[in-house]
Symmetry: C2
Subunit: 300 residues, 2 copies
């Protein structure tokens, strides 16, 4: 496994892999890897002859009052995890090389970005799209892997890649969850044991929504009220949004009809968590529950 910080070197290494006709799989991450990330890496390893993981906490996707400086970083552990997955190349760039003095070009998706997290985090998806265009140009992946905890992000990146004619496929894999249903996230590292337990209510609420829909409920406000009730039964949780939207356009749906996304964002003791479930009448995909409780550190 090669660890490379230099963009030109990465391009050279990947050109060599492409010369050998290897399919390049790419998992862009901000590090602090957890089983959600590793599920993407495993899938990339299954399908691609050369697997690249980038680890870069991208400053321009954080708002001025957000947690850029405190965002969990643990390169040593990430390296260990990726080595054991058989990753070929870690791209671990320096911030000053990614955004050189006077950097002035930004990529913005303007439709899907208006909704959900785009409202609470202005500029967030612009930062995501910009860094991914850079990473796609550096890594030239054949397939890029994204997780569906960040459902909106995945939709936006797919739209951006299609609009800008990138020659890559984007695979979006299911949410990986803790035993209590909490969606795996690097930000879970901010939570105490007790807060993690509390946060299990998010998944319970989504499953309640699924059951309501399965039982024939179609009125979005009723479902949202049920979700809110479950979440607010826990202390110290503040709701940012709970929405039922069209799973493709992300526009609000007053009724559950066709493929819808039930998406929510909450703050638990100031930590922002998101989660979602896609519902489609009988067709439901809320990710698999990971078989064991996992912590960011100290695990194989």
């Amino acid at each position: 496994m090669v660890i490379e910080r230099n963009t030109s070197q990465v391009k050279k290494i990947i050109a060599k892999a492409k010369n050998k006709k290897l399919l390049v799989g790419f998992v862009p991450t901000m590090g602090a890897l957890h089983p959600g990330h590793l599920s993407l890496v495993k899938e990339a390893k299954k399908k691609c002859g050369f697997v690249v993981v980038s680890i870069f906490v991208n400053p321009i996707q954080f708002g001025p009052k957000e947690d850029f400086s405190s965002y969990p970083r643990d390169f040593r552990n990430d390296e260990k995890l990726l080595r054991s997955e058989g990753v070929d190349l870690i791209f671990y760039p320096d911030c000053r090389n990614m955004y050189k003095e006077g950097f002035s070009t930004f990529v913005e998706e303007k439709r899907l970005s208006r909704f959900l997290c785009g409202q609470a985090r202005p500029g967030h998806f612009k930062g995501v799209c910009t860094v991914l265009v850079k990473l796609f140009n550096i890594v030239s992946p054949d397939i890029a892997y994204l997780g569906s905890k960040d459902y909106q992000q995945a939709q936006i990146v797919k739209k951006m890649a299609a609009d800008l004619d990138f020659s890559l496929k984007i695979k979006v894999l299911p949410i990986v969850r803790e035993k209590n249903g909490l969606a795996m996230s690097s930000r879970n590292a901010y939570l105490s044991r007790e807060e993690k337990d509390q946060a299990g209510c998010l998944y319970r609420a989504l499953i309640t929504a699924k059951k309501l829909v399965a039982a024939g409920e179609t009125m979005s406000p009723k479902i949202i009220t049920a979700i809110r009730r479950i979440i607010l039964s826990e202390k110290h949780i503040r709701v940012d949004y709970i929405r039922i939207v069209d799973a493709t356009t992300l526009e609000n749906k007053s009724r559950v009809k066709g493929k819808v996304l039930v998406a929510l964002a909450v703050y638990i003791s100031g930590v922002r968590l998101i989660d979602n479930i896609v519902l489609n009448g009988k067709k439901v995909n809320a990710g698999k529950v990971h078989s064991r409780l996992s912590r960011q550190k100290g695990r194989k």
Copy 2:
């Protein structure tokens, strides 16, 4: 020479050329080709084993009151010219394929775009950057060729390509001029014989600036006044801007010191024309004067 409208087909053809280890040279154009474009094509032919020219009048770089619908189009003649230059592939996409229903991703350079034409044409360079990111992703050129009549555009595209980590070189070639000094431009087709004669004042004015600087004048306002006087001696000319700016940052320079750009934009009977000259003490580059008067149509 292949003419292809389909994006995926273009990608396939270019992948084949790359498999043969041919260097891909790319000249993006809006058609209505003139000797300025052809100088780029000739240079591409000299350096690259596979030369692609795109012909696409890009709607999103035109303002709502600009000349998108009347912009000169003459594919038959363009095709003839490019065939005789030995071009390998013309990419001639359809607008509905370039901007599919619901297109929503834009690329914006935010620093250099603030100046000069960026002020008179809000959104123009965003349209240029967006279409070029698309074209670069479709054509994957090793070298892209741009003309320096659009000096600001060339600087912005270089900045954008560097910021977004594109793996290509951008070559910017000198302005090609009519016998009277008028910079070649597809928009010259809008001008009558008499207006073209009048428009010769732009180059005379730039040469006057060059002479003033060579004679030791360094005060930008004095040079600008001299330019303005020459231009306004012609009837029916309205000045949009005449500026002396740093040739790299495009910021106004009150004194000619180091490498500066003298740039101007005027309207002749409603037709917007731009021109420029780079000055650097003794070092001057204002493009070569083309040996004969050329018309868009009817020439070999």
